[in-house]
């Protein structure tokens, strides 16, 4: 086969068939996908979660992951934080003419490994090729379907004064890692994205506590972005304490050099959890014993009615933490 992806791989004829059958099915193949029907068919009954995300991250390979792995974990995480067990994914590839098969296969292989790790199946897909200069190597859309067991559905559990705000580990790592790599700065191996699938963390957690009231993965917009969304949506005032926020030393250095607050930097393996204080011990002990939660911290609490987020600084002052207004680098995820 040719060494680079050509426009003919997207024309719907023989080259497309070969690309799909000899490359894509080799990695993703399963009983449903292999049928290559216009739609995948499956039987199901229950409360479903459905989500979509397009991934346009640049560079496509970065410390701690690649666009393929990100596209699987990202959608797994959007399902998981809703309390849904991820079941099925679709994959839509938009490839720029000229992408090498070596890179293409590396991405497919990474997606395959990530899917298997999370126990999900890719059951339907689509591949398009655009001319050189009309895309950027590869964009990946994944849409996901998950199922919510009754015990994992927290809707209606109201957020109220005294509830605690938890994060499962250090903030800002994905965004700052991508920015540093985009600048071509040579870095040590501790500098890497926190990219991780959250299903194994949040789904069991929802089973041990009935008092979790909200979860969201703070991707674009960072922790500050998600907290502001919560404050506005549920009309609550949130206060977080600077001192409690877990930040790795390299993130702190990078954020000072680049002038970017880690609170606004994207995460790809973190979840913000709002829960009743009465389950604090149960939740924190579960998190601390999980590989993705060992650096978990209670970073703040719900102060009452309102619509703002406040940061209590190390100096003891209190300032409003606005949602992101400035431009950060685009294409972090």
């Amino acid at each position: 086969m040719e060494e680079i992806i050509l426009l003919s791989h997207g024309n719907g004829g023989e080259s497309t068939r070969r690309l799909i059958e000899e490359e894509i099915l080799k990695y993703f193949g399963n009983d449903i996908l292999n049928q290559l029907l216009d739609s995948a068919i499956f039987d199901i009954k229950g409360r479903l979660a459905f989500t979509t995300d397009s991934f346009v991250v640049s560079p496509i390979f970065f410390n701690g992951g690649d666009i393929g792995k990100l596209s699987i974990y990202g959608t797994i995480n959007d399902l998981s934080v809703m309390g849904a067990k991820p079941l099925y994914l679709s994959v839509g590839l938009i490839v720029e003419e000229g992408l090498s098969f070596e890179e293409f296969r590396k991405i497919l292989l990474s997606m395959k490994a990530a899917s298997e790790e999370c126990g999900i199946k890719i059951i339907t897909g689509d591949t398009k090729v655009v001319e050189r200069g009309k895309g950027d190597k590869i964009f990946i859309n994944t849409s996901g379907i998950g199922i919510i067991e009754t015990s994992l559905d927290w809707r209606g559990r109201g957020i109220e004064q005294g509830d605690i705000v938890i994060i499962n580990g250090g903030i800002g790592e994905h965004g700052l890692c991508i920015m540093i790599q985009r600048l071509g700065i040579k870095v040590g191996e501790e500098v890497k994205s926190d990219l991780a699938p959250l299903n194994s963390l949040v789904l069991p957690l929802l089973k041990i506590s009935n008092n979790i009231k909200f979860m969201r993965d703070p991707t674009r917009g960072g922790v500050a972005g998600v907290l502001n969304e919560i404050a506005q949506k549920y009309s609550v005032e949130i206060e977080i304490e600077e001192e409690k926020i877990p930040i790795k030393p390299w993130v702190r250095s990078a954020s000072e050099i680049l002038g970017i607050d880690p609170l606004y930097s994207a995460n790809e393996g973190k979840v913000i959890i709002i829960a009743s204080r009465k389950d604090e011990d149960k939740i924190m002990s579960f998190l601390k014993n999980h590989p993705l939660g060992k650096d978990a911290e209670i970073i703040g609490e719900i102060k009452g009615k309102g619509n703002r987020v406040y940061l209590k600084t190390k100096l003891g002052t209190r300032r409003i933490l606005d949602p992101l207004k400035r431009d950060l680098l685009p294409r972090i995820c």
Copy 2:
């Protein structure tokens, strides 16, 4: 608001929130989408169909439609030809910095109208912005979920010798229209894409005949492509008659000028139907009375075991109709 889409509209902060709440929700808003959760939630029971498609057509506005309408109908059609009633769609937008809000809104409005026409809801979405020169105005991914009623599930109805091959109207219109417009040739208003949603045609048809054995919309790769897929997948020989194939006069002229066989040109409102001959009258009479089927024709039949497609020409000769091997223009859909 700014007159063009900026990178900041994709940063996950305040501009993104405004873009989503003030623009996207204005057009797509419904009870599920408005919740802006990480995943949309709905209850369901049954046999589901799930499909995905990315749309990268250029130009984004063309005679007979635009990329927005195409992205809705395309996925509606992929669900419908499986016998699934389309219910829910996701929409993933990848916008190139610099797209005008005027064009952006025109596309959203077109998607809204198409969704309403087909009775489906857009329940989850995602918007990314890429730098100028890293995309091409707008790419749209839609993934769709539909439900298959038992009576609409034809799996297991084997294709056999004597079965008829039907198409619901003139071939090659979408592909040739896009190619002509790409070349900047000035054309009359009869030159337009056949873009149409097939749900109102194929779902009732499946209810009136239990002897439909296969349906597919011949998009990329055209009628020749789909027939070759069927021949290979079901190990049958198919023969179609040149004389029976409906082709509009402008398509014939365009195909002669451009040197492109309409049999390989994409369609966006056509369906190939394989059915038992005993329901010929029932099926043809239904099709002929439907606005999307009035030019329907029986174009060929299943000749027995095999794996090839033959074309009986007007001169009475018989030649193999291969799947597409050459390059056509990319980005037809």
